[in-house]
Amino acid sequence: MASYQALYRQWRPKTFREVVGQEHVVHTLKSALLHHRLVHAYLFCGPRGTGKTSIARILAKALNCLHPQEGEPCTSCLNCQRIDEGSSLDVFEMDAASHRGIDEIRYLIDKIPLSPVEGKYKVYIVDEVHMLTTEAFNALLKTLEEPPPHALFILATTEPRKVPPTILSRCQRFDFRLLTPEQIKARLNQVAEAEGFSLEASALNLLARKARGSLRDGLSLLDQVLTASAHPHIREEQVALLIGTPPGEDMVKIFSLLADGDALNLFYTLEKILSRGVDPKSLVEDLVAWGRHLLFLSLDPSFDTGELGAEGEKLKKLAPRFSPQRILGLLERLQQVEVNLRWHEEPRFLLEVALGDFLLSSPPWEEFQRRLAVLERRVEALERKGVGGGDKLQALQTTGSPSEGQLREKWAQVLKIARQKSIQLQAYLREGIPIALGGDRLVVEVKADFHRGMLEQPHNRQQVERILERVWGYPLKLQVVANREEMEKEGIGPATEIED
């Protein structure tokens, strides 16, 4: 029975044409092959699964191919086939991670002066070259300084910064980039179709996202999914279940419950997701990833959420409901969960505590201080007027309560209209915070007594009250109070009450 070959090996590109992404590398190498501008040492750097080894093998084939076509290997001649099988006598592959000593490099280098047997070049592919020992690097350097014309080195590494500069400067360096989710999606779709499966768009999105720019990881995940699926049409839930990650729909739900501040339903939802067998670690990772998107969205509404698919649009709508500070707070808590997960027996508990803490946690300290100050002033005002006497000021219960939200919104309108009338007027008002609205009065607190004085000048007061009427739709009297601390410091008495 033929043994099963993993998808990423089956679908390793065999020609430059088949390579996904890395156009800048492919274009340059083909041009070098066509116009005889090859150098004797190449360094391929870049994250894993981005095509370094694949392109190295294609280059080896193109160099030794008996019938190359426009820089592409023919893939059918004897040399191409032998290189594909790994049995070529002229192409040497070495994994420096497991063969890192001087002896191994010497073994390789000693035979360099001998001419190639089958093709035109002897190609040495050294993977993970940064793992070589210092002595091995020195031995390699001597060869790179003056290699025979028939030798060509392709060094590949994920960490170019660990390669000595003397080696770097002797190589032509190519930096491979992470693949975009679109590139990965396209390739996964192609592979799935060729294998007789069709994937729903959101399922592809999920796989592409989980691949994190590495096509090899993407194909491995696809491999798992295809192996386990009995049905040729694959849906997102199946993929999510198989790779133990929650589908995008659930993520949107979690974030919308976070926005609502609905802790109870949030816990139920978490419970439901985890009971489906989703790996808690993977859930936390996803929450962090989506939280990051949310953070970017809250900073820049035009941020591209393409990789989240249709759910990205829904997340976009949620973004205005969080301030960047709030999201950062959430991300920090999740980060902590990620760290603690390793030591904790009950991952669900950790997650609940973190999210619950986020929801039930008090808003930032400054907010608290501000609210306390407002309360104090209100109590003072009440005391002065006598409890229960006079107009009752509409209480501002909590931040985020509709009344305060509305008040702020209307205040913004007031400022806008004031700006149209006079820049000074707006400047005086800008210093003010509307702190209470009651009966026919609007109480505005300003920071300095100066602003209070200016606003109370009859001319200005008239103008402001006209604006208030325009905004609220009914006549309102303006009451200005100056900041208490400021007044005390300057020895001024309590804010003057406005006589109706």
């Binding site: 800048h24 400067s169 190589c171 032509q172 360096r173 820049d300």
Partner: protein, 253 residues
């Protein structure tokens, strides 16, 4: 003599002894190659060209080689690489003796990567019979001119902004710069123009070090969305977060 005058001096004849000194090893190698092509006939390569390691040697061996007449070429060429500084200060008796009356049928090239100064015995000895050639690092406008000339020599046009980016990204290591230029020329085979965009595409170092300014600027001006966008670009290119952090601290600190 400076390396730039070397080639034209060959019109008057090749000296029996050269001393190449200075840290610019890329150019030293290039001129050794040129000299070799000039002196050694292709069939004489195996007989008349020798390259030896200077480190740890005293010179007796090279003198023997240099004193031997050539076989197939008009002259023999002996190249001594990595000549140690001590030997430049105080040449061994065998070397000193040879340099007083070098063989007219040999071209001995001594290469030292160090900077030599007036008063070094070897400089005096060589200059009496041959040429001492300085290979000092190219800097500033000269470096840029060199890059433009290199590109033009192969029929390419390189924009000044591209030159600027290359130099900012790769420093003044000519080997590295030439390597990047060669890559760019291969890429731009079709239109023979090297512009800013191509440099950014193929020379990530250039991109990183220019954009790190953009990133710090964005941070300084508190343009959060812009800063985040730059940061994402870096990460997309596979930059490690730690490296970025160090670049940032270097810029800000």
């Amino acid at each position: 003599m400076n390396w730039e005058e070397l080639e034209s001096s060959w019109r008057k004849g090749i000296s029996p002894v050269y001393l190449f000194w200075g840290p610019e090893s890329f150019l030293q190698e290039r001129y050794i190659k040129k000299l070799r092509e000039k002196i050694i006939s292709p069939q004489g390569e195996a007989f008349d060209y020798h390259q030896v390691e200077g480190e740890g040697a005293r010179g007796e061996e090279w003198v023997m080689m240099a004193a031997t007449p050539p076989v197939l070429s008009p002259r023999r060429m002996v190249v001594v690489k990595n000549l140690p500084l001590e030997l430049a200060k105080a040449p061994s008796p065998a070397l000193a003796e040879y340099l007083v009356s070098p063989s007219p049928t040999t071209c001995l090239v001594l290469c030292c990567r160090e900077e030599l100064h007036k008063g070094f015995k070897l400089l005096e000895l060589v200059e009496a019979q041959g040429q001492a050639v300085a290979f000092l690092p190219l800097k500033g406008a000269k470096l840029k001119e060199w890059l433009v000339r290199e590109a033009e020599a192969q029929g390419y046009r390189i924009h000044s902004r591209a030159v600027q980016l290359l130099v900012e990204g790769c420093g003044h290591d000519l080997r590295l710069l030439y390597g990047e230029l060669e890559k760019l020329m291969t890429y731009a085979w079709g239109d023979r123009i090297i512009d800013e965009q191509k440099v950014k595409l193929l020379v990530p170092q250039a991109l990183a070090d220019t954009n790190i300014f953009a990133l710090t600027d964005a941070l300084g001006n508190r343009q959060l969305p812009l800063a985040v966008r730059y940061l994402r670009q870096f990460l997309q290119q596979g930059y490690s977060p730690l490296h970025l952090l160090s670049l940032l601290t270097r810029q800000i600190g």
